[in-house]
Amino acid sequence: MLTLTCPCCGVTAEETEFAPGGEAHLKRFGPGSSDDDFEGYLFARKNPKGVHFERWRHAYGCGKWFLAARDTNTLEVFATYKAQTSEPPADVIAKIKAKRPDWEGYK
């Protein structure tokens, strides 16, 4: 059972109040892109065992999308942050580095 804090409305609640939305920070490829890029965007996933960045929606709350940094191997939630960003912000990276010194960083 995960406990998440919505960065949009500030409510902390358990996961039943939220809806998971898959991997975050996907780079979009549309018409004109190569087959490999389009396939990668649509299907290929990092699915890491460890630090992961995900989209969530506060479905039974404010209804807004946000992002979460989480460890898939321990279910620890490092931080949640606003969805309007193309990569994890520096303070989130720092928080993860503090707890996972061996983590190779966001790539």
Binding site: E15, P20, G22, P48, T72
Partner: protein
């Protein structure tokens, strides 16, 4: 390998059971094998077994980081069926179901295959239409399924409530030769047969890296040293993405937790398997008398083999409505496994961008039923570079848009 038989049992009974051998050897790894299979679950062991039995390749090692059959093979709800909608799925799942029929004789190991019949309840009009379509598809595929009405469901399953307040039972898709088997025995039987053919099954040996050179596989690094190979089969279910990253490619896979639980044992009350996909629950009674229950997957990536409690609650609530007699049953055990989900809910049996590396993954929530067919097809793919059973299940289908969409057909974990 000494054969198991009634004479062996009688002989051992007369000498205090002192003559039983270990079922399989636990050797140290050699420096080099022709084929290495990573993952000693059902699918990995079956792949090794059919490599030896059908294709005569016995220079094989099966590498396992934990213990044999300790992953999803020992965590599923043991359901076997082949009533799939799409032709490629029906072919491989029916191959598996057919192999299960005489697997005990083939392996000389009792896998307790019990074709007791399997019902998939239709509880909404849409589901009824969907299942009737599946019955028609199955008829064309040569798979024996039929649509039965609510009263026939009640006759087959006296403990069911067909007039449930939320979801009345409108009928069911029946596969009479579907059923269950002893999941551990499937892994153990294959392991014993592989070991008897001279293959090495190496447990407690974690793969830490995959060595490639010029786009071709050279070998693997493990916690027990370097091992070379000509061909490498990655058959690791929930950890497929982790292994793929070691080999330098990505898979269209997400790993999520799926849970199951069993009740205290009770007297025999239900001799078929019942799946209620609308309400996300399925139940059968084990030979020990426990009601074996499975539910839905979590929606987020997870490697912990623990799922979320609300799924247990939702599934149990739905099943209590469908089977009122279980409302006072105590649940004995609950556990989770990490399943590898693809976008179209169909597996991947394929070559990969690295020459010599093959993947068998993406079975998601329904891999146990497919073990013999999956192993048979995978062995053919490795030995001959091509198998009619795996043609449609290649990695390239995602690029080419040839999905084998079973997410509608199954609708739920199974």
């Amino acid at each position: 390998m000494k054969r198991y038989s009634i004479f062996a049992v009688a002989r051992e009974a007369l000498r205090y059971h002192s003559g039983w051998e270990r079922a399989w050897r636990s050797p140290e790894p050699k420096k080099r094998y022709k084929v290495i299979v990573v993952g000693a679950g059902g699918h990995g062991l079956a792949t090794a077994y059919y490599l030896g039995k059908v294709h005569g390749i016995t220079d094989v090692a099966v590498i396992e980081k934990g213990w044999l059959g300790g992953g999803n093979t020992g965590r599923n709800t043991t359901i076997i069926r082949s009533n799939y909608l799409q032709d490629p799925s029906a072919a491989i799942y029916e191959k598996a179901r057919a192999l299960y029929e005489d697997l005990s004789q083939d392996l000389n190991y009792n896998v307790m295959f019990s074709p007791r019949g399997l019902l998939m309840l239709g509880q909404t009009e849409h589901e009824v239409r969907g299942y009737k379509r599946t019955v028609h598809a199955n008829r064309l595929q040569g798979i024996d399924t039929e649509w039965i009405g609510p009263q026939q469901v009640k006759d087959l399953v006296p403990i069911i409530n067909i007039e449930g307040p939320r979801y009345p039972v409108l009928g069911a898709l029946l596969q009479k030769r579907g059923g269950t088997a002893r999941h551990d025995a499937v892994a153990w039987g294959y392991a014993r047969a592989c070991s008897a053919m001279g293959m090495d099954i190496i447990q407690k040996c974690e793969v830490t890296g995959v060595r490639t050179e010029g786009g071709k596989v050279q070998g693997i690094s493990t916690s027990k040293g370097e091992i070379d190979c000509e061909q490498l089969a990655i058959v690791v279910a929930g950890h497929s993405s982790v292994m793929a990253e070691m080999a330098g490619f990505r898979l269209p896979i997400e790993s999520v937790a799926l849970q199951a639980w069993v009740s205290e044992p009770i007297k025999p009350c239900m001799d078929v398997v019942v799946m209620a996909n609308t309400v996300h629950g399925y139940m059968s009674q084990s030979d020990k008398g426990e009601m074996v229950i499975g539910g839905g997957t979590d929606g987020f990536n997870n490697y912990t083999q623990r799922g979320s409690w609300h799924h247990v609650e939702e599934t149990t609530r739905a099943l209590v409505e469908t089977f009122p007699i279980i409302s006072r049953l105590k649940m004995l055990r609950q556990w989770g496994g990490i399943v590898d989900m693809t976008g179209d809910r169909s597996p991947i049996l394929s070559k990969t961008p690295v020459e010599g590396i093959f993947v068998n993954c993406g079975w998601g929530t329904g891999g146990f039923k497919a073990i013999p067919g999956s192993g048979f097809a995978m062995a053919e793919l490795i030995a001959r570079g091509h198998s009619p059973l795996t043609d449609e299940f290649g990695l390239d289908r995602f690029k080419e848009g040839r999905f084998i969409d079973e997410s509608v057909a199954a609708g739920v974990a199974h």
